[in-house]
Subunit: 342 residues, 2 copies
């Protein structure tokens, strides 16, 4: 008999006596066992696209810390790669997608994801599921179309997302076509993740915070709304966590319009606002400052306590407000967990 | 007899039939006459610290566009320089402050601003005022202590403000001492600006958006509150605009706690939220996306119209949501102004 999954329970609106907990980027560089496997794989992409490695990395933080959820080790740029862009990682700098997308070369993009390119991710999911105890939730994910598009248009990461924002302003029809391709590809990709064994998915909109409000509605809210609807048409009741990082004053609108099971809060979100304006409508997940976790000590304890005090009286998943930082000491993660688990 | 200043009227809560308008960084690189003078001065700091040049740059956009306010051409890092840090600008990279401040060397910082180092700014103000028509408001400014501290601790600009955020978490008492010095220096500096002739001041908290909520209250709200109170003890009724960029869900708390005359909104602030949750309590200023101004065309027109439609029915100052971008065409500024002025 299956043991219950605490995190899935929260996604269905049921508060847990002790909030389930996981961390964004919990499989990552702060872990010595990750760094060891990363060195063996030779490259980040090799690690992502080799199911044996990726599944092992997915499971590492569960073994060490017993998190309530494992999230598959992968990258949001798998989708543009599966649509035909070349994907490389420049050591110490980050991802490169080529050619950068523009109105002129949108037609070069495939309308459908390449099953061969995506197959290793599904295999990672099957292997991860097989290695997990029943009560651990397995999370899949994708990047939201807006965030993925910022990389596709710039060809790399940017601090201000100016290339994609400018394309959206100047050539909204072409940009809409790019977003439409990403919506369809994301539905297909997430449905495939459920078929391979994930219990729920998170949609990462890492760069949602840099858009003017009308742009936010058009490029973040509407596409994510379509993904959730399209996914649920394929996978009835598929649980979805939305994470519109930096949405700020647009957060309430996101929660109102996007029909997810929970919303992830970044570390800047005011806790009283989250409790009073968001949590009555949607379970929330978050939102410890990753830098407070890195700093440790009193800053860490106070951060955890403030979040638990504000949010743990209703359906809630404890998490960071963004990915764990590479320099974070293991002992700080243990201290955080002890405090969350009471 | 003085002619009335439309912008000051708004700061005193009186809506104008046509909202007054100015732009952050309106004296800057997008203007050919600025680039010409910048080349003549030889360096950015020479431009800042030579009153003849700085006043001329302050007046350039008023002559060209007839804005309702001139803002003195200066830099927020004048204060750390006046407190004893060395200030240089590396061409194409940005400012450098040395030595970077830490708990270990805080004592090297002067507790008071050096009048000789600050004198050219006051002279710039006197010259600017003399060159302005009565109806144009002259704005002074300073950086908020939090934002200035991020540069002082890192010794340069950072994308994530991690050095200052980490110092605030790990050594809150030392960081508080740094903030206290900046609060006192800012009061002195702004009072001096009023004595030299400004009509109002803006407090720029450019990096307010990266703090966890408790940190936001301690390092952004409380120090700004103290500056406004301290300034008004010296200059009764001194009009103040606060600009906590990226405050997001913390914006309402800022407006509630900081007793300013208006609050500047960055370009991401939801307009319905601004109208319903902020404007009833405080005149607002903003918030066109500088990238929409750079893009021009339909994106610009729609952006302006949305803002006027939402905010111009109550006390309101039209502005950008952040500084104008260097590549912005002059014709786009003219188009924006024609639309705002109806």
């Amino acid at each position: 008999m299956d043991r219950p999954k605490a995190l899935l329970d929260v996604l269905h609106g049921r508060r847990q006596a002790h909030p389930p907990v996981w961390m964004m980027r919990q499989a990552g560089r702060y872990l010595p066992e990750y760094r060891e496997l990363r060195a063996r794989a030779g490259s980040f992409l090799k690690l992502c696209f080799t199911p044996e490695f990726a599944a092992e990395v997915t499971l590492q933080p569960i073994r060490r810390f017993g998190f309530d959820a494992a999230i598959i080790f992968s990258d949001i740029l798998v989708v543009p790669y599966a649509l035909g862009q070349d994907l490389t990682f420049v050591e110490g700098e980050g991802p490169r997608l080529s050619p950068p997308m523009s109105a002129a070369n949108l037609d070069r993009l495939s309308g459908e994801i390449d099953r061969e390119r995506i197959a290793p991710i599904y295999e990672t999911i099957r292997r991860s599921r097989a290695g997990l105890a029943d009560e651990v939730t397995l999370l899949g994910f994708c990047g939201a179309p807006w965030t993925v598009a910022t990389y596709m248009v710039a060809g790399e990461g940017t601090s201000d997302q100016a290339p994609a924002r400018l394309m959206a302003y100047r050539e909204p029809d072409a940009f809409q076509r790019l977003i439409d391709v990403l919506v369809d590809a994301s539905i297909e990709y997430l449905a495939g993740q459920f078929a391979a064994g994930v219990d729920a998915v998170q949609i990462f909109d890492t760069w949602a915070g840099n858009l003017a409000p009308e742009e936010f509605l058009r490029w973040c809210v509407a596409p994510t709304q379509r993904i959730v609807a399209g996914l649920r048409a394929r996978v009835p009741g598929a649980p979805v966590i939305g994470f519109p990082r930096g949405a700020g004053t647009n957060l309430a609108r996101y929660v109102h319009d996007v029909p997810g099971n929970a919303v992830g809060l970044d570390w800047t979100v005011d806790l009283a606002y989250a409790r009073d304006a968001i949590q009555p409508h949607r379970p929330v997940q978050g939102n410890l400052d990753p830098l407070a976790l890195l700093a440790g000590g009193d800053a860490l304890d106070r951060g955890v306590d403030a979040i638990l005090g504000a949010l743990a009286n209703a359906p809630f998943i404890f998490n960071l407000g963004h990915g764990i930082l590479p320099g974070t000491p293991i002992a700080h993660v243990e201290r955080m967990l002890a405090r969350v688990r009471g």
